[in-house]
């Protein structure tokens, strides 16, 4: 029965395709395809697969942006900034306040979030981490955990524990692709716009793939950020100072690099990225609570380790792969076990290749 709808060559391979739930009126649900949970090879169809893939890449791009901040701070300050995930949440709340309470346009909300988080990141570094430079890693780590808890509970104190509904900052409408199985890849038409298009008869029964504007923007922004960061680190004076500090703090200082300033700048950049990630994350998944940031934060660290800590392309690759793994395990295995699967990735990576996909081996010195 379903062969009628799946004359596309790729769709034919999988045979069955469920043509359902295409009507979407620009609401916040990310995708229209519905899947029954559980692993069912018969039910796997190519359009669902592509849908999940894109959703995974989009979530992965958010992880990648967070992981970039993690990896920079880890590479340069040699510390695991546990509070990084909570800066995401703070960024979300700042944007929420500016948009909803002050009723200002969304671009101002994004700018406000970035500025606030940058200052917050620098302040955290100055107050909590700088006095501990040279102390044992255990002390620094515990302080970072304390900071993470501090931010969560401050947000809890100010905004309360009820979830806030975040309005998307991306004004773009979702893009819909119509497949009818003929022509190049079967894509017959695409449509962007809030209202449902008036379809010609030929496309009445076509299959639709919807990609929301937030997803497209998220993916583009993360790629842009990665490229900008790489150029910044390779070409600019500050960027090279960062490289020098990450290589050897003492030697860098002797060569006239202001180590404290460099670390502060790293925290500023990392926190600004966290704000961007926070706004994008909340645009895609609109419930905002004081705990919004902690899981993505930890997962982004997993992504950074997965890609190779200290490596910028590594953070990107790790983030996107992790996003895909998470969405696929939610869709095809079990939504309850998705987190367990993501964390198993970390454990497997650390046991098999502790340096990650793109990381370098660092030998321990006496």
């Amino acid at each position: 029965m379903s062969l009628l709808f799946s004359s596309h060559p790729l769709l034919k391979i999988f045979g069955r395709f469920k043509n359902k739930g295409q009507k979407q009126n620009g609401d916040l649900s990310l995708f229209c395809a519905q899947v029954s949970p559980g692993f069912d090879l018969q039910g796997v169809c190519i359009l669902e697969f592509i849908t999940y893939l894109i959703r995974g890449i989009s979530l992965g791009s958010v992880y990648a942006i967070i992981a970039l901040g993690y990896t920079m701070v880890y590479g340069i300050a040699k510390m695991l900034n546990f509070a990084h995930g909570d800066i995401i949440m703070i960024g979300g709340y700042v944007a929420f306040t500016v948009m909803t309470t002050l009723a200002l346009p969304s671009y101002l909300a994004v700018i406000a979030a970035i500025l606030f988080c940058t200052l917050l990141g620098v302040a955290i570094e100055r107050i909590a981490y700088k006095p501990l430079r040279g102390a044992t890693p255990l002390a620094v780590l515990i302080t970072a955990i304390g900071m993470s808890y501090f931010l969560q509970n401050i947000a809890l104190l100010i905004f309360g524990s009820d979830p806030k509904m975040f309005t998307s900052v991306v004004p773009l409408e979702s893009v819909r692709f119509y497949y009818d199985g003929s022509g190049l890849l079967g894509v017959k038409a695409f449509w962007t716009g809030a209202a449902d298009p008036v379809l010609p008869d030929k496309l009445q029964n076509a299959d639709v793939l919807t990609i929301s504007g937030v997803m497209i923007v998220t993916i583009l922004v993360s790629v842009a950020i990665m490229i900008a960061l790489m150029v910044f680190i390779k070409k600019s004076k500050t960027g090279r100072a960062m490289l020098a500090v990450s290589e050897d703090k003492g030697a860098a200082q002797l060569m006239g690099v202001n180590v404290n300033k460099t670390i502060a700048i790293t925290f500023a950049i990392g926190s600004a990225l966290a704000a961007v990630a926070g706004v994008l994350l909340c645009s895609a998944y609109p419930t905002l609570t004081p705990y919004t940031g902690s899981m993505p934060g930890i997962k982004a660290f997993v992504a950074a380790v997965f890609g190779g800590i200290g490596s910028i392309p590594g953070a990107m690759v790790g983030g996107i792969l992790l996003g895909i793994i998470e969405i696929f395990s939610t869709a095809y295995i079990s939504s309850q076990l998705a987190d367990a699967i993501v964390f198993s990735v970390l454990i497997i990576v650390l046991l098999v290749k502790p340096t990650g996909i793109l990381g370098k081996k660092i030998s321990e010195k006496v």
Partner: protein, 369 residues
């Protein structure tokens, strides 16, 4: 006179046991006079189990120098295995005390087993990686148990990770571990004895910890903490000692979990019970009590567990402060964590402290002359 002949370490441990016993006697007396509020009485068992958790985590963080953020995961294993045992043996073992004791042993054993299995791969990692991997393991354990359905009928054991109906149990049999609804109605000993038994387990934990720290093995572990490469070069097997410490700590976390599961009507693997927050809370006890100090961890755990109830009784404080403190406990813990860490570890403060110490020492010497 006796005191002079004792070793410093023995005296230390005896003082700690004495504190526990005195605290027990005081609480019992207050309770029998009816001077304790119901809230505090309800917390007495928790007091012991948090003290056990703090003392055992202290072995990993303080003695071994590794940060484990998955301690609540081992507690979760101990809780569920022991409660599972008690449930299936409700009819087979009639004696409450015997069943309870075997359940404690089973909880301890399985937590130790899982701790051992996890320690083998994980302890190859160091520092931050170890922290995040133990965190990951804690979350995995909790998630798995939370989505696990186990039941027993005459066809044997049924395990499923999807739903209760997937167990295909005989009609009329209900699952023992029912996914996110956990285990309900674990048979336990009479609630009047629970505090006494928990105190005994706390004393056992303290005795084992002190014995471990002051033994040759404990000194080896501490030397590895202080300088791994030097310890390795004098022939210490670093991995063996680390795994040993980690396993002992997980075993006691399991014991605490077993006590926990036999003290509540419904056991569920929620984040509140066994999540990352719980692990952090135990870490706060250890840090606040002084990393490496057994007695400190115990006292900090006890005080912070009683804090909300203590605050309620401190009537001289204004109401605003009392409600703020009890509602924002985690915020205050966080601040304490940061401040304690900065003051005890920042190179600048360490220097100031050393100078102060030297100053006072000089002062006393002059007096002596």
């Amino acid at each position: 006179m006796l005191k002079l002949n004792m070793k410093k370490t023995t005296r230390q441990s005896l003082v700690t046991y004495a504190i526990v016993i005195i605290a027990f006697v005081v609480f019992q007396l207050l309770s029998s006079f009816g001077a304790l509020s119901n809230l505090i009485e309800g917390q007495l068992v928790n007091l012991c189990l948090y003290a056990i958790l703090a003392v055992s985590l202290n072995l990993v963080v303080g003695i071994s120098g590794e940060l484990s953020l998955g301690h609540a995961g081992f507690m979760c294993i101990g809780a569920f295995t022991s409660a599972f045992f008690s449930k299936i043996c409700t009819d087979t073992i009639g004696n409450d005390f015997l069943r309870f004791l075997i359940a404690m042993v089973i909880g301890t054993f399985f937590a130790a087993l899982v701790g051992f299995l996890i320690a083998i791969p994980v302890l190859r990692l160091r520092g931050d990686y170890l922290a995040i991997v133990t965190l990951a393991f804690g979350q995995i354990i909790m998630t798995l148990i939370n989505s696990m359905y186990v039941g027993i009928d005459k066809n044997g054991l049924h395990i499923s990770f999807s739903s209760e109906s997937a167990l295909h149990l005989e009609p009329g049999t209900s699952p023992i571990i029912n996914g996110s609804q956990g285990i309900t109605g674990t048979p336990s000993i009479d609630s009047d004895y629970r505090f006494f038994v928990s105190i005994l387990f706390l004393l056992l934990t303290l005795a084992v910890s002190y014995h471990f720290i002051n033994s040759r093995t404990g000194r080896a572990v501490m030397s590895i903490r202080d300088n791994r490469i030097a310890a390795e070069s004098v022939g210490l097997n670093v991995t063996k000692y680390k795994i040993l410490t980690f396993t002992i700590a997980s075993a006691f976390a399991g014991l605490a979990g077993a006590i926990f599961s036999h003290n509540i009507p419904t056991l569920v693997a929620t984040t509140k019970n066994f999540g990352y927050d719980k692990s952090i809370m135990i870490l706060v006890f250890v840090v606040l009590g002084g990393i490496g100090s057994v007695r400190g961890s115990m006292i900090a755990a006890a005080l912070l567990t009683l804090l909300p109830e203590l605050l309620r009784s401190l009537t001289f404080l204004p109401d605003g402060i009392r409600t703020f403190v009890s509602e924002n406990r985690m915020l205050i813990y966080a601040v304490i964590l940061i401040v304690v860490m900065i003051f005890s570890n920042s190179p600048r403060f360490v220097e100031i402290r050393a100078r102060l110490k030297a100053f006072f020492r000089r002062g006393t010497k002059k007096e002596a002359v």
